[in-house]
Every structure is written in structure tokens, then in C-alpha cells.
């Protein structure tokens, strides 16, 4: 993307990158609109007491207020009474600094971020089997050259449109695309085979395909023998997934299961890539593992144009989870519970390792913890809008109301900011410099292209100022490049090793793939050339059994609800909803004509959806492109249209990923006035 400011007007154009022609979706083309003054916050705001309204104030007043509240709370209730909630869209520098700010300036164990709601299941599965979590262990452009690409729960045609050029190239090269999705998405429409699966049955599908692959001798015995641990246990588990049983669970007919196994098994090269559709479940880690097991058993990993991976969901979904924004993590993908890791990082931070707090709790657990004795009383939210994006968001909203102080740092008056006691307006993407790391583990640099308006501060400036006021002036700076250099040093020796990366190197190479260190001075586009990152170099498989979702349809709640994103909106919509040209529609729910007819709902009509957590109101979009036992609603909108009012709090035991992708609901229409 090329951004130029001409006489105060922002112009945006696509720009080539990394040897590839440029391309943007409508969200990119209109992103400049979000920079305009009328859409954003132009002053800090303060609520003097809970019953008062938010009023504009000076930066000094806001900082004073925050400093006082933090000091007061920590003096009275202990260090852990203050918590930080970050975001996967923040730059590496900010994510790193938030982690450092929490551990060093606040000494609190409570920090986590919305990446829990995004990629945590995939990260957990990759870590435990490959010993490393990099979304794609190969460059994205490699997918154009594989023979078969299987996408599980990914609708990149709408969520990552520019990546579609590689799918197009793949098909031009004669490659085959298989898409697993309960919806016939624009991505699924391009597929040779679309598997319109019963929501949350993906694990059974993967095990079922592996069952067939073993029977039909598609698995790579040689590869398994020399590179894989624990295959025999996986083999035994998938034995119970015979095709007729899997057909009943998944809704995919036996013959289609055989076709998929054959296409994957007979291909010379193949890739399996999962996304939120497979991962956002109470068994998300195991589901991701099931597909990983399939790819590994077929010998379709660690070879050119083969591989297992996952697409990121947020701008910095990968980098955001590498440098300490996560409850149990320190920079470089280190563990906060490992003594060696603690002292390595403490050395860079020049603090006593014993003083670093221990592991906190996951995102949703942080919200649940509010209001309890020893719970969080002051929370700072940066770069996230959990009132829209967290599950059971009605509950989250009321929990935030129990805080003594809620601090929100955001460019926009987001739905969460509206609840805050103090709001700080921050700079936006084009107004500051920073790095992000994409699915490929490729670190890219975004330089400031327009000056920031005088009424905002960058997130780094805000963190540095607060640190200074808490007595840590010498340990924090607002200079992006200096923060990055410190991050690079802090990550040295970790899995996500950035120690050889500099702004200069990134710019010269159009991005650098980590790890980049003394061993790999130019980075590593392709991991696992001859071995995995586990201690013995072998992929460690986990046998995973199917348990089903936490909720299954009943007489009173007969329909599956799945959530996701639409083409023209992004995440909680705090940014994109403000761009009117982009998408004037409001919250909607997609349903099959059969379902609509059964509940006597017409296209365009308002529909009331009810789950055990709450109710939401949306406009019906009747479409045959979805299973007739399932409805789909994007999560971008606020108020009564919030689909996350309905989603449940059930979490994956390993990754703590909430079960966004499936819950059960009932439908009714037309809605009565009483509800509104």
C-alpha cells in the first residue's frame, strides 16, 4: 500500500511488495477515510465518577488520573489488582512494550490479549507437535505451486482477499483446492471439492480421512518411520473413525471422504491450512492437531511445496503472540515459568529475574476474574474492543462495569471506550512506524507516511509516559526503532528469534522471515528443511478423540450458530463501521431458504436469535450457500446486533480459546416490540 498526503488529503494506492504486484481489498482502498478527524477521537476524556459522563480533558489530567488510580489500587489491593488487555493488531513494538510495561512497571501477572480469541489453538497445536509456532512454515506464495491445497475453516476470499491470487495461480497450474466449511463461501465456490461440514465436527473429519488414508496405503511409512513420534497411538485412535461413523458426525458422505483421501494421498505435494473455523472451538487445539496429524502422516510436511499451517486473523496475529503480550510468555516466544527464560529476558531489561511476576490467566478468564476478591480492579485495554469481540459479550460488558477504573486507548470511540473511565486517543497505522509479523513469520516494516494530528499520542508514547510516571523513565522510550532493537535483543535465543533483524534489513529485503540470527543471518523462509524444532527433531503427534461441541441442537434450540467476518468489515468494526462507503449494512444473519421457510422468515426481515447467554437481533439474509441446520452471523456490530451476546464461555482446555464457532440458538420472527 502506498499512502501519500496531498494538501491534507490522503491518497491510497496499491504498491508492489516482495516481488509481487500490489493488491488490496475494499478495506484497504478506504482505509484512509479512518484517518479523517470527524471519525476519530480528538481529545482524551475523563469520567470523574461512575455516574458522570465522559468529558474532554487535557493529556496531563488524563495521565494524572491514571497514575493516581494505578498507584492507589496497587497500594491498597496489591500489584495484581491492575491488568492489561492488548490486541493482535498492535505492532511488535507495542506488543513487546505492553508485556514489559506489565511485568516491569506494573509488576502485575495479569496481561493477556485478544489473540486468545484468534489463533491460540493453532499456536498450541503447532508448538506441541513441531516445537515452534509460526503460522506458515513456508512463504505464502508457495501455495501457488503445490498440487493440492486443503483449506479448513478459512474463507480467505473475503477475509484476506489479496491472498486469492495464489489460489488462482494454483488452479492455473492445475492444482486442486479442497475447502471445508459449513458455508459455501466465495472461497468454497472456487474449490474442486467443497465439504459443507456439520459445525464443530472437523476433528472427526480429519480422523476419518486419516482412517481411510491408512487403509488405502496413502500414508508415507518411510517418512513416519524416520521423522515422526507417536504415530502408532494416532493410528489406534483413528481406527474408531470408520467412514460410516464419520459420515454421520460430519455430514460428509462416505464417497466424498474417499475422494478427499485419494486426492490428498495421490498428490505429489499437498498443503493443509486451518483457520478460525477449525480452531475456535472448545476442542480447537485438538482439532488443529487432527489436521496436523493428517498432513504429517501423509508425509506432506517438511518438503518443498508441502506443509501444514494456519492463516492469521489479525494484522499482527503472528508477531502479537511472540513477544510477551500473552499471560504466560516472555519475548522471543519464551515461557514466563521457565527460570532460564526469565533470567535471559531480565538481563536485557536490567531487572532482577525474581522480581518478574509469574503467569497470569487467559483473556476471558481476566474478565471473569473482575469482581472477585484479589481480582483485577484497574484494567487498561489497548487496541481491542472486547465488548464486541469477546464471547458472552453481555457478560463481559457487565464485568467491565465492576472495575474501579477502566482505561481504554483507541483511535476511535469504540464500544468499549464508551464504557471507560478514561479514554486516550491514539495514533493510527499511517501515522506511526512499526513492524508486524505476518502468517509466514515474515517481519514487515510500516513507516509513518503522514504526520499524526496534534491531539493524539502513539501507543508507545502513552506506555512510555505512564512508565515514567510510575518511576521507570529510564527503561522505556517512545522511539519505535529503539524499541525494536531492544525487542530483537530480548528475543535472542528464543524460538521467535529476531536478534539479526533491523529496520534497515527489513527495508532492504522487503521483509525478513524469522528466525533471523547468527545461524540464519538472512532469515528462514522455509522452516523444517530436514528436521522439526522439537528436542529430537521429530514431529510429535497427539492422538485426539472426538468429543463434539459443548452444545448440540435440542428441541428448544434447534440450530447451530457460527460466527465470523464479512468482506467489508474488520474485527469489532470499530474502524470499518465508521467508513460509510465501505458497507452500509448492519448486523445480519445468513440462513438457508429451508430454514427461513420453516421459521416463516423472509429475506430482509428482523430476526431474534436466542441462546442460553442472551438474545440478539439481526436482519435475515436468505441464501442457499449455507447448511440448512446452521446460521451464520458476522461479529462486527454493536448493541443488540452483537452476535457475541449469544456465544458461550466454554474454552479449549489447552489454548483457552473460547468456542466462538458454534453454539445453539433458536430463531423467531417477527420480533415483538417488547424485546426492543
Amino acid at each position: 500500500m502506498a499512502v501519500t498526503a496531498v494538501k491534507g488529503r490522503i491518497e491510497i494506492n496499491s504498491a508492489p511488495f516482495g516481488g509481487q504486484p500490489g493488491g488490496m481489498c475494499a478495506k484497504g482502498w478506504t482505509a484512509g477515510v479512518a484517518l479523517s478527524e470527524e471519525l476519530r477521537l480528538t481529545t482524551p476524556m475523563l469520567r470523574v465518577d461512575k455516574n458522570a459522563q465522559l468529558f474532554p480533558c487535557s493529556w496531563d489530567e488524563a495521565y494524572n488520573f491514571i497514575e493516581e488510580r494505578i498507584r492507589q489500587s496497587q497500594a491498597q489491593f496489591g500489584k495484581d489488582s491492575v491488568g492489561i488487555f492488548g490486541g493482535g493488531g498492535l505492532t511488535n513494538e507495542k506488543a513487546y512494550y505492553l508485556g514489559k510495561f506489565a511485568r516491569v512497571a506494573l509488576s502485575t501477572r495479569f496481561i493477556d490479549y485478544n489473540g486468545r480469541f484468534c489463533m491460540s489453538s493453532a499456536a498450541a497445536a503447532l508448538n506441541r507437535s513441531f516445537g515452534i509456532d509460526r503460522g506458515l512454515p513456508f512463504p505464502l506464495s508457495d501455495i501457488a505451486k503445490t498440487d493440492v491445497l486443503m483449506l479448513v475453516g478459512s474463507n480467505i476470499a473475503e477475509t484476506m482477499p489479496p491472498a486469492m491470487r495464489y489460489i488462482k495461480e494454483l488452479q492455473d497450474n492445475g492444482g486442486k483446492l479442497i475447502v471445508v466449511d459449513p458455508r459455501r463461501t466465495p472461497t468454497a465456490r472456487l474449490a474442486l471439492l467443497h465439504l459443507p461440514i456439520v459445525p464443530a465436527s472437523d476433528l472427526a473429519l480429519a480422523n476419518g480421512i486419516l482412517h481411510i488414508a491408512i487403509e488405502e496405503k496413502y500414508i508415507d511409512e518411510q517418512f513416519i518411520f524416520s521423522n515422526v513420534e507417536n504415530f502408532s497411538e494416532v493410528r489406534e485412535t483413528v481406527r474408531s473413525f470408520w467412514p460410516k461413523r464419520v459420515e454421520k458426525i460430519t455430514g460428509i458422505s462416505v464417497s466424498l471422504l474417499y475422494q478427499v483421501a485419494q486426492i490428498l494421498g495421490e498428490a505429489k505435494t499437498a498443503m493443509i491450512i486451518t483457520a478460525r473455523g477449525a480452531e475456535q472451538h472448545s476442542r480447537g487445539t485438538d482439532t488443529t492437531s487432527a489436521f496436523l496429524n493428517l498432513a504429517v502422516s501423509l508425509g506432506k510436511v517438511a518438503k518443498p511445496y508441502c506443509g501444514f499451517g494456519t492463516f492469521t486473523g489479525q494484522g499482527n496475529g503472528q508477531g502479537g503472540r511472540e513477544h510477551g503480550q500473552k499471560a504466560d510468555q516472555l519475548p522471543g516466544y519464551r515461557s514466563i515459568e521457565n527460570a532460564e527464560h526469565r533470567s535471559e529476558v531480565a538481563r536485557v531489561w536490567d531487572v532482577d529475574p525474581l522480581q518478574l511476576p509469574g503467569a497470569g490467566v487467559s483473556a476471558q478468564e481476566m474478565f471473569e476474574n473482575i469482581g472477585h476478591r484479589d481480582g483485577i480492579r484497574v484494567m487498561m485495554i489497548m487496541g481491542s474492543n472486547p465488548v464486541i469481540s469477546a464471547p458472552s459479550s453481555g457478560f463481559v460488558q457487565s464485568q467491565l462495569g465492576l472495575l474501579d477504573t477502566l482505561i481504554v486507548v483507541d483511535p476511535f470511540f469504540s464500544d468499549t471506550a464508551q464504557l471507560a473511565d478514561v479514554v486516550l486517543p491514539s495514533a493510527q497505522w499511517a501515522e506511526e512506524t512499526g513492524t508486524m509479523t505476518n502468517s509466514e513469520g515474515r517481519i514487515i516494516l510500516r513507516r509513518r507516511s503522514v504526520p499524526k494530528p496534534p491531539y493524539v499520542r502513539t501507543d508507545l508514547e502513552i506506555i512510555a509516559e505512564l512508565a515514567k510516571r510510575l518511576g521507570f523513565a529510564e527503561k522505556f522510550t517512545s522511539d519505535e526503532e529503539r524499541v525494536f532493537d531492544e525487542l530483537a535483543r530480548a528475543s535472542k535465543g528464543g524460538k521467535a528469534d529476531y536478534s539479526g533483524v533491523s529496520y534497515k534489513k527489513i527495508e532492504m529485503n522487503d521483509g525478513v522471515y524469522w528466525p533471523c540470527n547468527e545461524d540464519y543471518p538472512n532469515g528462514r523462509p522455509r522452516l523444517f528443511a530436514n528436521k522439526f524444532a522439537t528436542s529430537n527433531g521429530k514431529a510429535l503427534l497427539f492422538a485426539v478423540d472426538y468429543k463434539g461441541p459443548s452444545e448440540v441442537p435440542t428441541e428448544t434450540r434447534p440450530i447451530y450458530l457460527i460466527t465470523g467476518r464479512s468482506l467489508l468489515q474488520y474485527q469489532s468494526g470499530a474502524q470499518t463501521r465508521r467508513i460509510k462507503d465501505l458497507d452500509p449494512t448492519g448486523p445480519y444473519v445468513e440462513m438457508h431458504p429451508f430454514l427461513a421457510r420453516r421459521f416463516e422468515i423472509r429475506d430482509g426481515q428482523s430476526v431474534l436469535l436466542t441462546s442460553d447467554r442472551g438474545q440478539a437481533v439481526m436482519t435475515a439474509v436468505v441464501t442457499p450457500d449455507i447448511r440448512s441446520d446452521t446460521v451464520f452471523a458476522p461479529f462486527h456490530w454493536p448493541g443488540l446486533g452483537r452476535v457475541n451476546l449469544l456465544t458461550g464461555p466454554q474454552r479449549d482446555p489447552i489454548s483457552k480459546m473460547p468456542e466462538f464457532k458454534v453454539c445453539i440458538v433458536s430463531l423467531s420472527a417477527p420480533i415483538s416490540e417488547a424485546v426492543l
Binding site: P196, E215, R239, K248, S253, V254, S255, V622
Partner: protein, 446 residues
Amino acid sequence: MSRSIVVVGTGMFSQGFVSELVARSDGNARITIVDEKLEIPLNKALVQSFLAGKRGVEDCLFHSQRWFDKHNVALILGCSIRAIDQEQKILDLSNGDSLHFDELVVSLPRQVPVPFVEAGADDFVSGLDTVSELERLSSQLCSSRKVAVIGGGLAGIETALTLSSRGVIVELITGNSQLVAHLLDSTHAQLLKLKLEQLGISVRTASEVRSVILQRVANEEEIVGVSFDGGESTYSDMVIVTDETANFDAEWEQGVELARASLGGASIRPVNSEVNRISSPLLSVAIYSKVSERTEESEVIELDNRAKESFKRFEVSKGSLVRAVVIGDDAAVGRLSTALATRYPLIDASHLLFGDRGSNAMAGLVASGDIVCMCNMVSKARILEVALEAASVMTSECISRVVGETRATTGCGGCNEMVARVVEEVTCGQSLSAEMGTRQLATIGN
């Protein structure tokens, strides 16, 4: 404290129960399985793969000893129950031990009637129930050119299909007057029989087996003779005896359901829907029968598509499906199987006939939300909706209904062709037309 759960019997039901319990209880249950059989239980759902030569005998077991050990499941074989003390919650075992239980699940296997086998012929007659039987089979099967399969149920038919696809000549024998007597009525059984005969399997109905005897033919070769009550007989290299009424998949699922219920989960699904499947590369069949709810008033939709050699019949009563038979149409078989597995309370027969959407012919051309008729702002979704409502397979009938209700095509007329093609997604997309097959839409009752 972990509960002690004792399961008596090692059949599919028990195994489904135990597997689900292990998957869901997170190690909080101590499970003991007791059976008077001496052998580790066999997963009968995997036997067809064995017969097809894709799986070794060991690979047809439910679980290895290691699995049982790892999940704290004790296996007591060769031991029967002498007495159950419900009050003390104690089982008296035939080996003299007594066993405490918090919960007891008893699932005794059905007895498969075995025909009288003359001395000497034993080696050539086998069931499909135990590891030793499969081991015997695997040595015999290689040299068998012709096999007699006794039992006209799902297991017998699948066995016949599997062997037939291996090039073995198969004769399928049942004492009943028709195939799958406990599930199908005679008309559909006849259809199924024809289908099997087309595939080269000879089917002998109403033939009760009296005895199996060993015969020697000219060059000292041994064959077995199966003689019937009427005095007729037939000869083959070996005889396989199958369970006429078994539905292994359903038994497993029932065990799974019981495990969920016993764990007290909030979402327990009733075990009222049962799909009986025959799945083989040669033929796919699904039979659904909700026997208890057979009512006097129901609607029947039947599609006999000769071009595709498929047959579908759905019986809907008070908005829910009560009976269904699908032969040959793989996708529809899958849809029926899964629609019922998801316990969708109301089943839409047209969904089962046609799938969630019609043919894919038009799929890429128009998105569902797209406006097809610009003059009257009619979306593709709306046209599909009306066309489906029309519930007709005649394109012209559907089009006139669409035109009447939506006014599509009544402006400039530029969308004529597009509307027709969208409607065809619902009608012609199903490869159903007057020439290709017959169609019956009838209401029975009163």
C-alpha cells in the same frame, strides 16, 4: 473420587459406551469390562475392510491392551456374572471374585443362529465375530472362488458386496422371504435384490438353511454344500454366517448416547433416529425407519431415477420424516444419514432430495444475494425460495410461480434466461426429467 463403572458385554454398544466415556470423563471413571468371551473384542464395523484385504486381523480390534491400560479400563474375559446385588452394588463373578460398581451397564449380545454343520465341514464355515474366526477366514478366503453368505441383513449384504468386488462369486442366502426383512417392505427389498443381482450377486430368499455338509468332487477338491429346507442345495468353497438383524453403527451410537447421558451432560440427544447404512464402493444404501411413529396420514415423495440408477423414497408425517429408503444416490444417502444424526427436529424432505442447494451448474455465476431482476429488484435468493416453495420439478411450473410472486422478468425482460437458469438449479439440477425417470408425488392415508 472416581466412579466405578462396570460394563458387561464386549459388543459394539459396550465399546461405544466405553470409548465415549473415556473421551469425555477426563480420567474420572474407573471402567471394568466383563465378558464370558475369551477374546479381546473385535470392532465389527471394521470387518468389511478386513474382507476387502485392507486391514489385518489385529487392526480390527477396538483398542490395544496399551489403550485399555492407559485409560484405566480393566478387561475381565472368560468370566460370567453369577449374581447382581443391587443394594450393595456388588457383582458376583464366575471366577469367584466380586466386583463393586457405582454404575452397571449390561449389554448382552444377540445369539446369531448358526445352521447345523456336519462334522468335517467346520473348517469351511465361519462367522465374522471374533479374531480367531477372522484368522481362519483369511487363510480360507484366498483359495475360495465361490462363497455362500448366510444372512440377508445389512452385514450379509455388505459382506456379499465386499467379496464380490474382490472377484469372488457370491451367493447371498436368507431364510426370510425378502432382504433386510426387519427394515424394508417387500417392494423396496425387491428393488435392492435387483440391484444386487445387477452387480452379479445371486440372491436366494425364503431359503432356510437346514445343514452344511462337506462334499468331495472329482479331483479330490473339497467343497461345502448348503442344503435348504425344501430339499434344494447349493455348493461353494466356503460359508460365511452373518447376523441378520445387526446394525453395528447404530449399536455403537447407542452406546455413545448412553455414555453421554450417564455423564449428565446438558445436551443429551434422544436415540430415536436410526439410519441403517450399507456402504460399499459398488452400492450405497440408507434406510431410516422411525417405527413407533408410523401414522395414518403421511406424505410420500418417491424418485426413481433410472438414468442414475438411483431410488429415493421419503415418508413425511406431521412435518417430520418417519421413513426413508435411498438406494444408489450417494450424496442423498450421506444427507439422510447426517441430517438425522444431527437430530434436526424437523426434516425437510426436499432438502433430503436435493441437498442444501441445487446443482452446482449455476453456482459460480450468480451469488445468492445478487439481484437477478433489476427492474423489480428480485434477488437470486428470493427466486430460489419461491421455486422451492413451488415444490415442483417442472421448470415451467416453477418459473410461472416465480414470475407471479416476484414479478421477475416482467420489466425489461432482460433477465428471462437468468431466472430460468436459477429455477433450474432447483429442478433440472437434480437430473430429473420426464424422459429420465418416473416421478410420483402422492399423499397416502385416510
